[in-house]
Amino acid sequence: MASIHWILFSARNQVKKLGGDGNIRKICPFSLATPKDEDKGDEDFESMSMDKGVISKLLKDFFEEEFPNQGTDLEYTTDLLNDWFVDSLGIINTVLFLERKFAISLARADINSDNFQNINTLSSFVRKSLG
């Protein structure tokens, strides 16, 4: 599955380089990664056509599952850095989740408090990265 991911991911980057929007489902109708795939692991290529609301919901589920019992109700505007993350490992976990779930590639400069402020800002970042 990882190699399929790599091929599709590379293809998406190629499309971006050629001036496309990077949405592989628009240009690759034979993509193996269909929304019905139960065995697609963390590489959810449906994410590429996701709207911000769906991304926010996925992020909220992730944070609630990964960092439970923080003593705070998680809202889309909850300050993730001050009121939700346990420690910097939480940031790394989130980066890994974003990379696997949305097949986006992050750089060091993306790890900033503008992107990681709350679920809304993070989902905007994901949406923007998806093209």
Partner: protein, 569 residues
């Protein structure tokens, strides 16, 4: 955590809204500074007050290990590398300048605040270290600025000023000898027609120049030590440049911020200097010199909330600093006396002393090794925390919302968390400079290997070479011997790196279903986890204190004694 990631950029309007005066807060800071002056200087003699020791005696507090020969409190908050005055006088000058700097930064209009801090910093350095040292430090920073910001409109003036400062810093007292100053006059010309066009037109060459500038301290000390090893010639570094060397981690993080696009290309020189030249840097210069690192962190956290709240937070953290500064030795030595009397075991206050006795062939029991390591690190923790709390408190009083460097490490239930709590800013440096570059570039297909290697790069390699070995050269001198002397400490860095890496890899897969220190039956596991974490961290310090005649085998033997395993000597 928000501040760990640099914080959010803050507008001038928001800063002005946070800049409301409170005479009570200002008076409180001045009052606490007077307490510092009373306890840690001889000012009490000038104003005819009883000495702190006499006052304690009158109050019935006959405390040992606290007061020194001049009857004030013996203090680890010092002005390093200078012998112009005695310690107490240096502290008096420093506290006086801090008071003036605070009044300026508190009451001046917003646009003058940070420049005022640079001014008072330079005034303090001139008074405490001399004009040559202040010139050298300023010269080095302007040289970095010239390389990072060639687009600045006034860059020609900056290069001329840098040349003038170079003459002051490097010429001794021979300012007017043409042989001395003429070469420096070439600097602005060489910059204008040689380096600046390269910086502006050749991005790759400019990138290499910035990398060299950012790593200049580390490169110079390793180069100096290597040359000494080959030729026997030892470099003598002017004091101002030496002071600049201690900004190496902050310059590296400035470069990281620059690469990430957080630093404006045409940043005014006064803003650049305000990132580095702050009076909070001066006390115990070498201790945690990386506090207040990078551009984004400093600029985003200045007056990012109500300044009186920041002042009160600073005073609170100064309270802890004061407690540790006064009572550190009293607590540790009385604790050792109590433990030795009660449990009838031999204890060492310094690990190095224990290692020396062990290498001589003396028998060490497991409780001696374990408790001595705990005692030594508690001693060091109190010493260190007293200084870093003072520094962090000072940053806050000046309006910067700087994180505590030392944040209740006794609550850490694993080594990764302990390291973050024990040395927040140092770990932030290593994460930005080593962890992220590896993590985002290598082993992307292997989760565990990716995290493991990135953590080892930061906690083991970066920590040893960029964190401690270069520091050792700054302390001990640019000699090859000082590199060789440091190498036997590798097991400390290896074990620390392995410990943190394995914890990270484990926690990646572990589902967290409760927060540590939540009340319930499992709180016992938190206590045990905390003890094991701290004990492991303390125990690996047997590798960090090598002694003459000691071998790696002897240090491992001592380490294993701590684990209850006695190997033959």
């Amino acid at each position: 955590m928000a501040r760990l990631l640099g914080g959010h950029p803050i507008t001038t309007e928001e800063q002005e809204k946070n800049d409301r005066h409170s005479p009570v807060a200002a008076a409180a800071v001045v009052g606490v500074l007077l307490v510092f002056i009373y306890l840690f200087t001889q000012f009490y003699q000038v104003v005819g007050l009883p000495s702190p020791e006499a006052l304690a005696g009158k109050a019935g507090l006959n405390l040992n290990y606290i007061f020194d020969a001049d009857h004030n409190v013996d203090c680890t908050l010092i002005i390093s590398f200078t012998r112009k005055y005695d310690n107490d006088t240096e502290r008096l000058i420093f506290f006086s300048i801090v008071t003036l700097a605070f009044l300026c930064v508190y009451f001046l209009p917003l646009k003058f605040k940070r420049t005022a801090l640079v001014f008072w910093f330079l005034t303090a350095v001139v008074l405490l270290y001399g004009l040559h040292a202040a010139s050298g430090l300023l010269f080095a920073h302007l040289a970095v600025y010239l390389i990072f910001h060639p687009t600045n409109k006034r860059i020609a003036i900056v290069s001329v000023v840098a040349a003038g400062l170079g003459i002051l810093a490097f010429s001794g007292d021979n300012y007017f000898n043409p042989r001395t100053f003429v070469p420096w006059l070439i600097l602005p010309v060489a910059y204008r027609y040689g380096l600046r066009p390269v910086l502006l037109k050749k991005p790759k060459a400019a990138s290499v120049c910035r990398l060299i500038a950012a790593q200049s301290s580390v490169l110079l000390v390793f180069m100096g030590a290597s040359i000494e090893g080959i030729s026997g010639y030892e470099w003598k570094v002017p004091l101002g440049i030496f002071l600049f060397f201690w900004h190496w981690q902050r310059v590296i993080l400035y470069h990281v911020d620059y690469k990430d696009g957080h630093v404006p290309k045409d940043l005014p020189v006064s803003h650049y200097l305000s990132v580095f030249l702050n009076p909070a840097m001066i006390p115990s210069w070498t201790w945690s010199a990386y506090i207040g690192q990078g551009y984004a962190y400093i600029s985003n956290n200045f007056l990012c909330e109500d300044k009186n709240r920041l002042v009160m937070a600073g005073l609170k953290i100064w309270g802890f600093s004061l407690l540790y500064l006064v009572f550190d030795r009293w607590f540790i030595y009385n604790l050792v006396d109590y433990l030795e009397d009660t449990f009838d075991i031999t204890l060492f206050v310094h690990i190095k002393s224990m290692v020396r006795h062990h290498v001589r062939g003396e028998y060490m029991s497991t409780p001696t090794v374990l408790f001595s390591c705990l005692i030594d690190q508690s001693r060091w923790m109190l010493l260190w925390a007293s200084v870093v709390h003072f520094k962090v408190g000072l940053w806050r009083i000046f309006g910067y919302n700087v994180d505590p460097h030392f944040n209740r490490p006794w609550l850490a239930t694993n080594l990764a968390n302990f390291w973050a709590r024990y040395a927040f800013h140092f770990r932030a440096f290593l994460v930005s400079a080593f962890y992220y570059p590896i993590f985002f570039r290598f082993f992307k297909k292997n989760l565990h290997l990716r995290v493991f290697v990135a953590t080892m790069a930061a906690a083991c390699v970066g920590n040893m070479i960029w964190g401690h070995m270069s520091e050792n050269l700054f302390y001990e001198g640019l000699e090859w011997e000082n590199i060789l002397d440091y190498l036997p400490r590798w097991p400390y860095f290896l074990l620390l790196g392995l410990g943190i890496s394995l914890v990270q890899v484990y926690l990646l897969r572990k589902k967290r279903n409760r927060k540590p220190w939540t009340w319930g039956w499992r709180i016992g596991t938190d206590v045990l986890a905390t003890y094991l974490t701290i004990q492991f961290y303390c125990l690996i310090h047997v590798f960090g204190r090598p002694v003459p005649g000691g071998t790696i085998y002897e240090y491992w033997r001592l380490f294993l004694i701590g684990l209850g395993i006695h190997l033959p000597g």
